[in-house]
Symmetry: C2
Subunit: 331 residues, 2 copies
């Protein structure tokens, strides 16, 4: 492998000068700069990043952390979406992305081993002390979904999303609108519920507490179970706003099972717009989380933070209503 000394020799200059050329220092003449660059090009010289990192203390590496025992990881469509967008943007800013596992010595030490410039915590579980230890360190972090102290947070405007959902249903003529809420231990769950209440209030609809059910998890089983409880009500809802698409799919299943038709008999709105949403039958109307924007914003904020610029503690990203086939006007 050819190194900086070879380049220096070939160009008839010192390694210091080559280094300066490569790092765009101004104190080198145009003539030598050109000569050096030409040789670099010719021999295909590639600076050794380990050596560079050793002397500059910057690795241009960003760590990706996700709580392992949550078992969500890459396979969850929402997170892989924001991760993908994050990756694109952070790469544009010149970094590469490395996964940080917590094996043996914990996230913080692993970050220190790899000397990452910053980390993106994709799925945070605050019960995980390995994670809070990382958050509390002086490594620059950003995260989504779960707030922790002053760690910069970017996530969807859940309240606004709920408003979109409820307004849509109200416009279709619905008045008995139920909500299957996420676990209220999560801010997403809380905020979506608040938005739901606000939406009803806006429309002058009194909230019937029997129409609000808290689900134990963000999964389809939960949606199925909650929907069944709603269907057993003496006066069941004509529309249901569900806190996530997976649960909405469970709810649709429950409705079908009772011989009712989703859309015709009961309208459903989900939240997320995961890939599945457009493939269900009928296709699911939902509130789309802008994963691209969330990921991109996270990358920009992290970069600023690394460069010691001041950044917002919270950034809300607007959601959008995607109208498909599960919402119809009330007959």
């Amino acid at each position: 492998m050819v190194d900086i000394r070879d380049i220096a020799r070939l160009a008839g200059v010192s390694t210091a000068t080559v280094s300066k050329v490569l790092n765009n220092y101004s104190e080198v003449s145009d003539a030598t700069k050109e000569r050096v660059l030409k040789i670099v090009e010719e021999v295909g010289y590639i600076p050794n990043s380990s050596a560079r990192a050793l002397s500059t203390k910057r690795t241009w590496l960003i760590g990706i952390v996700y709580s392992e025992h949550l078992n969500i990881g890459l396979e969850h469509n929402y997170f892989s979406g924001v991760l993908e967008a994050f990756k694109r943007e952070i790469e544009n800013l010149g970094y590469d992305v490395v996964f940080i596992s917590g094996r043996d010595i914990g996230y913080l030490k692993r970050c220190q081993v790899r000397n990452v410039d910053g980390v993106f915590v994709v799925t945070a579980d605050l019960m995980d002390t390995g994670l809070t230890e990382l958050f509390d360190s002086d490594i620059k972090c950003v995260t989504t979904d779960v707030p922790y102290k002053a760690v910069p947070l970017v996530y969807s405007d859940n309240r606004q999303g709920s408003l979109l959902a409820v307004r849509h249903l109200v416009e279709l003529g619905h008045r008995r609108i139920a909500h299957i809420a996420g676990p209220l231990t999560s801010i997403a769950g809380q905020e979506r519920l608040e938005g739901y209440r606000q939406g009803l209030a806006e429309a002058g609809i009194e909230t019937d507490e029997s129409l609000v059910i808290e689900a134990p998890e963000y999964d389809s089983q939960s949606g199925y179970a909650c929907m069944n409880r709603l269907l057993e009500l003496p006066n069941p809802p004509t529309a249901v706003y569900v806190m996530c698409d997976l649960s909405a799919m469970g709810a649709m299943y429950a409705i079908n099972e009772k011989g009712l038709k989703v859309g015709e008999d009961i309208s459903i709105v989900g939240f997320d717009d995961i890939e599945l949403a457009s493939h269900t039958h009928p296709a699911l109307t939902t509130i789309k989380q802008d994963r691209k924007a969330i990921g991109r914003t996270l990358a920009q904020i992290l970069n600023k933070s690394i460069n010691n610029e001041k950044v917002d503690e919270r950034t809300l990203i607007k959601t959008r209503l995607i109208t498909r086939e599960t919402t119809k006007s009330r007959k």
Copy 2:
């Protein structure tokens, strides 16, 4: 940050000795070994990986490459599944995983910049010269799905999968079994088709070429379009084996649209067992690709290859039939 010199000073030995302790050299006495380790523990010393990499030429970093313009990336459930399994296993072997983008200088140079010990090419597009350049270099690679020269390849036993599908349908009493094939430019497409033919032959069913349709893509639109052509046949099939779940979902849509019932009127078998499969309505019977096994095997092979052990060029991973609701015995 505390470095190896500090440890050496505190322990009253040389840095060489500390290094030897940390790397499990035998030539250091138990007494000093213990003393050094104790101090390392106490002060929370973490070896600098850049310095280490500089001197050993090993980074313990594995690059992940996927053809970017294919636009599959993390969000595709199949690939994120094998990637997740790969990651777990390779981490167990002591590596970390870094994404390699091809920006500016191409995959190969990016790999050289980061000095990765090996790379896993997740989605290969052989038209991409940046990729073949990497394959042709002396960096250790493994890949899945797309064969290239002697690069070790791990993927599902497509033929065997097709056999499972066809046998299952035959057992249910079907004789007119169609196949929506993948693009025959892909080996997956070819092999699944071959398995299909073999399955029919086994059952003594003569193949009706009008029941085999090649789809242009592995997506749901393709499945929808191909299924419609099958339905227009004078004598349509009673069962369809579709080359992937997404396309199977498109096919189901087409069947529904015609007022027919999936399962009752026409049985469907997919391939992949993506997350969606269990959520469709009715739930999709499919051939499960063992993503965990594929990912894990890839990791082990790559590790061996890095250690200059001999490895198999091709490894086939068995598939499994997952029986759900889209296949019923013929009435």
